[in-house]
């Protein structure tokens, strides 16, 4: 009888631990898709933004082309690694573009530009927060895969530790930015 209870308890625990791992793995996949959605949204925004500002910014050709080229590279990237490299180039390029836009007061009068800028700002933040959320779940999953005794189940059922999303080094040094040019303090 006691033996039976122990067996049932162990089986129940295995089922529970297995399901928890599956749920975490799905959360990791889902969090990754959230990042992907935002990266795609950024791809869609870039041509509109370039179109809107290039009339004003004749002298910033280099910055503009850098962003456009990085986007083209990201869209046509053959594998994940090169795509992520291109994405972080986009982030750097857009950061630079936003900074030089400060030098063009005419842009602040253009409602369309302001609207695109807000959209881009929120997309950049979404990417940063989605990445942060992704890394949080990866931490959860990896911890569970490594700690005893869940690691026995993880290794038997082939759960693999997920990889953290690491940005480019220069990107990591930069804190989340407020790209909006409005200073709405009343």
């Amino acid at each position: 009888m006691v033996f039976l209870i122990i067996v049932v308890a162990i089986v129940a625990w295995v089922v529970f631990a297995y399901n928890r791992l599956v749920s975490l793995r799905n959360q990791v996949d889902n969090s990754w898709r959230q990042i992907d959605v935002q990266l795609k949204r950024r791809h869609d925004l870039i041509p509109n933004l370039i179109e809107a500002v290039k009339g004003y910014m004749q002298f910033e050709r280099d910055t503009l082309t850098q962003v456009v080229e990085a986007r083209a590279k990201a869209v046509s990237a053959p594998d994940q690694a090169s795509r992520m490299a291109a994405e972080s180039q986009i982030t750097t390029g857009l950061g630079k573009l936003m900074a030089v836009m400060e030098n063009y007061p005419q842009l602040k009068a253009d409602g369309n530009v302001l609207k695109l800028q807000e959209e881009l700002t929120t997309t950049e933040n979404q990417i940063a927060f989605a990445r942060q959320a992704y890394n949080d779940v990866v931490l959860d999953l990896n911890t569970r895969i490594q700690i005893f005794p869940t690691n026995l189940i993880a290794s038997n059922f082939g759960f693999k530790a997920a990889e953290y999303f690491k940005g480019a080094p220069e990107e990591q040094a930069v804190p989340k930015v407020d790209l909006s040019m409005t200073t709405p303090r009343a």
Binding site: E118, E119, D136, L139, P184
Partner: protein
């Protein structure tokens, strides 16, 4: 690490909500029973209960219906009572608020709450709803006008944390129950002084009369104290959650400066919220009522406040900002480990 924190908070909140509903039903039942005795439609004669406790049943049914209604439409009731309307992207600043809500939802790994707006110049915000999928975040026009993007992130992050750990459910039930208890207490007074008070003529012995008077006094005292106690409960329950939500906001934004700047700004502003009623005060990020926002401390000031002193909340955030790695709060440790990962 962070998500398991929220899970345990969620479990606590589920339990507390259940306890609250039971306590609420018991209070109503007790008052109903007292009224039944006072109105003499039931009596205990020779150890036998005679009569039908119609008022007890009515009170219990009322409490039951109110609990169910507040669970499913408490958010709409709260929004109605503060005159909130849906927030639409009609101005760039409103668009920014919508964007920030969606950003913080991503950071918290939660569905985005429905955005609402109160037309009031006092900067404030609250979140409510029965669970994250049915949650709302409500901001005042004053908050929208006076906060920049970073400060908004801090405030909305604070509200998102109330959503994520189910504080919103507990606080919403409390809001509606405080209202229900005030209504019941009012009803008992009207009943006692203008109605049923011994009106039914059932001849009783002197001893029974004495008992009836005692019960009547007990009912009056209970009815008088219930609103005060329910207020104190709302305050106690909400106070301890505010520090926690501040810490979680920092965990979401990874930026203690955001909420710190917002609270410092709000601390300078004196104007109270016009729609801030006693029943909903505990929902807001800072106490919306006049005269109780000052940084008075001590037992009494603590007992009668829905929020910890703003000065102390600011001090804690400053500690987070200043002492990096000192680990004064759990969230600091959390934010550090996750940020470096």
């Amino acid at each position: 690490m962070a998500s398991s924190n929220f899970r345990s908070l969620e479990a606590t909140n589920r339990r507390e909500t259940a306890v609250l509903v039971v306590a609420f039903m018991l209070l109503f039942g007790a008052l109903g029973l007292g009224l039944d005795f006072a109105a003499r439609d039931i009596a205990i004669i020779d150890g036998q209960l005679i009569g039908f406790p119609v008022l007890t049943i009515a009170a219990l049914v009322f409490a039951g219906i109110e609990s169910i209604v507040s669970y499913y439409s408490g958010a709409s009731l709260v929004l109605l009572s503060v005159h909130a309307r849906p927030l639409t992207p009609d101005t760039p600043k409103h668009q920014m608020v919508l964007d920030v809500i969606s950003e913080m939802a991503t950071a918290a790994r939660m569905p985005a709450p429905k955005p609402y707006l109160i037309d009031d110049q006092s900067p404030n915000a609250f979140a409510t709803g029965r669970d994250p999928a049915h949650s709302v975040i409500c901001v005042t026009q004053g908050l929208v006008d006076q906060m920049d993007r970073e400060e908004l992130q801090g405030v909305i992050g604070h509200e998102m944390s109330h959503v994520a750990d189910y504080d919103i459910r507990t606080m919403m039930m409390i809001a509606v129950m405080v209202g229900g208890i005030a209504m019941l207490s009012d009803f008992v007074y009207r009943w006692m002084f203008f109605g049923g008070f011994g009106a039914r003529g059932r001849s009783n012995s002197g001893r029974d009369n004495q008992a009836a008077v005692l019960i009547t006094v007990a009912v009056i005292v209970l009815a008088a104290l219930a609103p005060i106690f329910s207020q104190l409960l709302a305050m106690a329950v909400s106070r301890q959650r505010e520090y926690l939500a501040d810490a979680s906001s920092v965990e979401f934004t990874r930026n203690p400066r955001a909420l710190l700047r917002a609270l410092e700004h709000i601390a300078k502003i004196e104007s109270p919220l016009k729609q801030g009623t006693a029943g909903t005060a505990h929902l807001f990020i800072v106490n919306p009522r006049e005269g109780i926002r000052e940084d008075s401390e001590g037992f009494l000031a603590n007992l009668f406040s829905t929020h910890p002193p703003l000065g102390r909340r600011i001090a804690r955030l400053q500690a987070l900002l200043g002492a990096a790695g000192a680990g004064t709060l759990d969230a600091q440790a959390d934010a550090d480990t996750s940020a470096s990962s």
